[in-house]
């Protein structure tokens, strides 16, 4: 990449900086022949903001803006709209996804922080036919349904680390998920049933 030096009145191109080793060269010819000799077999470096993520088992490469949240990447860019925005400040749990095994709030996570991470969304959990999905349906754990993906993901993360939760464990795990419709009492029943199915499998 040409390296620009700015003086008070105008921008003057003076030197060329190699994108691979950052060495500087005086002419375009010089940098061209350097790259051919020194770096011919290397692939071009990634532009700034490039991240590689695995989402629901699929590998992706994105070029993200620095202010993109992980939620925005998943919901708007990738179009996996199951993950929802309700409070936009980490208070409601609707944006929960699982990253490297931990449930995290995607609206409070920057996309640029996610390079190399494994992410599970509610869609992946459903595709994998996790017993939670069917138990949620059977137990009517949804009314308007907007918060439901956040609960499913949080519950899945709980069951990933504890296949024998007590009702109190469940209430604490779901304590950060808000449901305006008030479906709360149904969730522990569904989760306990799903836990039983997983234990017996």
């Amino acid at each position: 990449m040409p390296k620009k030096e700015m003086n008070a009145t105008k921008t003057v191109l003076t030197r060329y900086s190699c994108p691979y080793c950052q060495n500087a060269f005086d002419s375009f010819e010089a940098i061209k022949s350097h790259i051919l000799i020194a770096h011919a077999t290397e692939s071009l470096p990634e532009p700034e903001g490039t991240i590689q993520v695995t989402i629901n088992g699929q590998k992706y490469k994105f070029q993200v803006e620095p202010d993109w949240t992980l939620y925005y990447l998943i919901h708007d860019v990738l179009g996996l709209t199951g993950t929802k925005l309700m409070c936009d400040r980490g208070a409601c749990g609707s944006c929960t996804v699982i990253m490297n095994g931990r449930p995290i709030l995607s609206c409070m996570t920057l996309a640029v922080e996610c390079n190399g991470k494994q992410i599970e969304t509610v869609e992946g959990i459903a595709e994998a036919k996790h017993p939670l999905i069917e138990e949620y349906v059977k137990h009517h754990c949804m009314q308007c349904g907007y918060c439901t993906p956040g609960f499913v993901v949080t519950a899945k993360a709980l069951l990933d680390r504890n296949l024998n939760p007590t009702e109190q464990d469940i209430r604490e795990a779901l304590g950060g998920n808000l449901c305006r419709c008030g479906t709360y009492p149904q969730h522990p029943k569904a989760i306990l049933e799903a836990a039983k199915i997983l234990r017996e499998a």
């Binding site: 993950t83 925005l85 459903a126 999905i133 949804m142 993906p149 449901c179 008030g182 149904q186």
Partner: protein
């Protein structure tokens, strides 16, 4: 066709006489929710999820001041920001001075230059490539504000010399019923009372009532402003396709947008297409506000100007723009006899921004003979208030408070006081029984059934005690509480739907409505299945798309009553056609094919479990599929399903319309069903915190169509009510009039941890006005439980906390500790 419907009530006063002896699908548990998998797996689509090619985002400027006027506005810098495609200003020639008519009948400015609450959308709308760019551009708009004094409290607003909340109003503020309003000689914040009630309700002889009383109870109770916080923030999308317009609506009344778009843009209604995706909660409120259709107008205008689809979008702070209509201070004076009968109730209520009649439930479900209720309404510099689950809040507030006080004053069980006073319009239960008999209803004592079941479930007789009498080993004070009222539905509304059989024998219900999660889609399939004789899984309903037939949308706990009858009608019409088809020869062009049941008449047949069978010989049966299937219509194509071009017979399609009653209350139509709720709490006398160990709901829904849906409303209503009772309130900064807690961290609604357990009881007396004697529940629990805890707290600590929400500081103050 009329003969099918002669047994259905033709006026809203009558009981549904057409009730099967046994039910197959209605009332069944374990029916799979149509929306269940979609919602659990993240596949359900909401308006917030809609992204169209080329779509732009529109954001409103909001007022930083509680009372201000725009003197001038410079949008140059905003317009120059890369990514901003258009800005609509309040002084744009297309909207300046123009008022658009809402379907509530009011006239709205599109972009006002006046703000009367902090956070009010006004002045300008930025349309940009992304929400972030639009938000940044809003920050670049330079406004020259005229900042004016403001008033936040309704009692302050009524004092002489108070700042005028909306000085631009003339002597007749909007919403005036002219004959009721006498303009005062000087402008004031007082407004005519809302909802068609008068400012004074007089029933019986209040002085006589007080003279007959053994005890008089007086107190004041206050409710603070609280709001909706629907899960999905407000938004909507408009796209033009030539002269046709297409809308995606996060709104309870999608169909009304056809009328408004027609009015505003002059497009014929038949060229307007509506999408009603799933709604992330929709508890009323916004949708009943006149202003709620304006953002869609703005997005349509800007979509037309930019040639691109436009999504208008509120962030969570923008969403804190309206509140529930129980912002009130009420003074009570009540007279009662020692035996528990209440002889006189006098209430004076001062409301902010919107009022209701606090005594209405006293008339509708008690025998209290003497009532005097005065209502005063004042405008303050807070957002508009409207029915958020629901407008019955003020009467539930008044009824709960006064019954709790009377019971405690008399040392009586509050449930017994309730039973002593149950009735209607000053008359007792015998009068109600006469009404029930006259109009075909079963004669049952709904409140007694609810109370008996509820007391048993919570262990009331073992646990209830005198106020302040029980301290627990953990140092907390134990309390028991009780509230009750009617199970209301206003039995209003109208709806239309179609029904069609597919060639494989499955059935579609055809109608547009908005869904807010009450399992309506599935429940309507249950009713159709019941009446048609099919399995529920063979009936399907998808309500999101514009199929031109409008079913009633969620409103006032009336939906099931109205739409349920539409379902009965279409099912009955369809069954008639199905049985006719079963006995009718099919005439193809080349040949005749005998019917599924030759030589019989429709009256010889019936349908069960999706099979048509001969009544006299039930083993002689054929699946509905075999009856309706396409019959090798073409000589060329051997397949049974010959495709649309060559179907052998007319498809079975029917439609029906039903009107359930006039909008509002019919005089003389009594509320027959009741609800009762019990709670058990612990109050920490050191911190003032309240732990709710148990709530028991008992709701008489007449007949539960989907029991799980009813329970969902009991759970959900209880959690919402508890949140509203304990912690939900908007907090304004006194000196600046700015909302301090316009976010979900600082505005606290209930989490899963708020209640120990909720036990639900469904009572089914069959005394509802809806199909099968059913009645609505969507609003009832959430409304009454908003006042569940006041009585329980008095029972725990022997002191009253009459103001809500009951934050710990109020408890400590009542205990004399703060």
């Amino acid at each position: 066709m009329e003969c099918i419907f002669e047994e259905m009530p033709s006026n809203p006063m009558e009981h549904d006489k057409y009730i099967p002896k046994t039910f197959h699908e209605v009332g069944k548990r374990g029916v799979r929710r149509i929306d269940g998998y979609r919602k659990a797996s993240g596949k359900a689509v909401y308006t917030r999820d809609i992204r169209l090619p080329g779509m732009l985002y529109a954001k409103f400027l909001t007022s930083p001041y509680p009372n201000a006027r725009i003197k001038g506005m410079n949008t140059t810098k905003a317009k120059a920001l890369l990514g901003v495609r258009a800005i609509l200003r309040y002084d744009d020639p297309e909207i300046m001075g123009k008022k658009i008519t809402s379907t509530q009948g009011s006239e709205e400015e599109v972009l006002s230059e006046y703000a009367y609450f902090q956070g009010q959308p006004l002045g300008a709308v930025v349309v940009a490539d992304s929400e972030e760019i639009a938000a940044e551009a809003l920050g670049l708009i330079e406004v020259d504000w005229e900042v004016r004094p403001f008033v936040l409290d309704q009692e302050e607003a009524l004092k002489p010399g108070a700042a005028l909340a909306r000085p631009q109003w003339s002597a007749a503020p909007k919403g005036t019923i002219m004959e009721d309003w006498t303009p005062s000689s000087e402008a004031s914040n007082q407004m005519p009372v809302s909802f068609g009630f008068g400012p004074v309700l007089r029933f019986g002889d209040i002085e006589k009532g007080f003279n007959e009383a053994d005890v008089i109870v007086e107190f004041t109770a206050r409710r603070n402003y609280h709001g909706c916080s629907d899960a999905e923030m407000l938004c909507g999308v408009t796209r033009w396709e030539g002269e046709c317009v297409e809308l995606w609506l996060h709104h309870q009344h999608p169909y009304e947008h056809k009328w408004t778009m027609h009015e505003w843009f002059g497009i014929p209604m038949n060229q307007i297409k509506i999408h009603s995706p799933y709604n992330g909660a929709m508890f009323g409120g916004w949708n009943w506000m006149d202003y709620s259709m304006v953002p869609q107008y703005v997005s349509a205008l800007m979509a037309r100007r930019t040639g691109r689809p436009v999504k208008w979008i509120f962030n969570r702070r923008d969403d804190f723009t309206f509140g529930q209509m129980d912002v009130m201070t009420s003074d009570y004076r009540i007279g009662a006899k020692r035996d528990g009968t209440i002889t006189a109730v006098q209430i004076k209520s001062i409301y902010a921004n919107c009022s209701f009649e606090g005594a209405s439930h006293l008339l509708e479900n008690t025998r209290i003979p003497n009532i005097l209720s005065e209502t005063i309404l004042a405008q303050v510099n807070k957002g508009p208030t409207m029915a958020i689950r629901c407008e019955q809040s003020p009467p539930c507030f008044c009824l709960s408070q006064l019954f709790n006080h009377v019971a405690a004053e008399l040392g009586m069980d509050p449930a017994e006081v309730a039973l002593m006073n149950d009735g209607v319009e000053g008359k007792d239960m015998e009068h109600l029984a006469e009404f029930k008999r006259a109009h075909g209803f079963p004669v049952k004592d709904s409140l007694r059934e609810c109370i008996e079941a509820g007391k048993k479930e919570i262990g009331w007789d073992q646990k209830w005690h005198a106020p302040g009498a029980k301290k627990l080993p953990n140092g907390r004070m134990h309390g028991m509480g009780f509230v009750w009222s009617q199970e209301w539905d206003d039995t209003r509304g109208a709806g239309a739907a179609g029904l069609m059989f597919q060639a494989d024998g499955t059935v579609n219900i055809i109608a547009l409505r908005s869904d807010i999660g009450l399992n309506a889609e599935t429940a309507y399939c249950q009713i159709v299945a019941e009446e048609l004789g099919m399995r529920t899984e063979d009936v399907f309903y998808r309500q999101q798309d514009d199929v031109y037939l409008p079913l009633m949308t969620p409103d006032g706990s009336c939906n099931m009553s109205t739409n349920g009858y539409v379902m009965k009608k279409i099912a009955k019409l369809a069954k008639q056609k199905l049985l006719e088809l079963a006995v009718t020869t099919t005439h193809l062009i080349e040949r005749d094919i005998p019917p599924a049941f030759p030589g019989l008449k429709p009256a010889d047949l019936d349908v069960k479990d999706s099979f048509v069978f001969v009544k006299a010989d039930p083993n002689n049966r054929k699946s509905v599929k075999d009856v309706v299937k396409d019959l090798k219509g073409s000589v060329i194509l051997p397949r049974e399903y010959a495709g649309i071009q060559n179907t052998s017979h007319e498809p079975i399609f029917v439609f029906a319309w039903h009107r359930q009653g006039r909008f509002g209350l019919e005089p003389g139509r009594y509320r027959l069903c009741r609800q009762a709720h019990f709670c058990e709490i612990e109050v920490d006398p050191e911190t003032g915190e309240i732990e709710i160990t148990k709530v028991v709901n008992a709701n008489d829904v007449g007949k539960a169509i989907s029991p799980e849906a009813v329970e969902g409303q009991q759970y959900g209503g209880t959690y919402m009510g508890v949140g509203r009772n304990l912690s939900e309130e908007y907090v304004w900064d006194g000196p600046t009039g700015v909302i301090l807690n316009g976010n979900l961290l600082d505005y606290k609604f209930a989490t899963i941890q708020e209640i120990g357990s909720v036990e639900t009881i469904i009572v089914e007396t069959g005394m509802g006005y809806g199909p099968y004697g059913s009645i609505g529940i969507g609003e009832d629990v959430g409304t009454i439980t908003s006042y569940l805890l006041h009585g329980a707290i008095h029972n725990a600590i022997g002191k009253w906390v009459d103001d809500g929400p009951i934050t710990p500081d109020k408890v400590l103050k009542a205990l004399g500790k703060a």
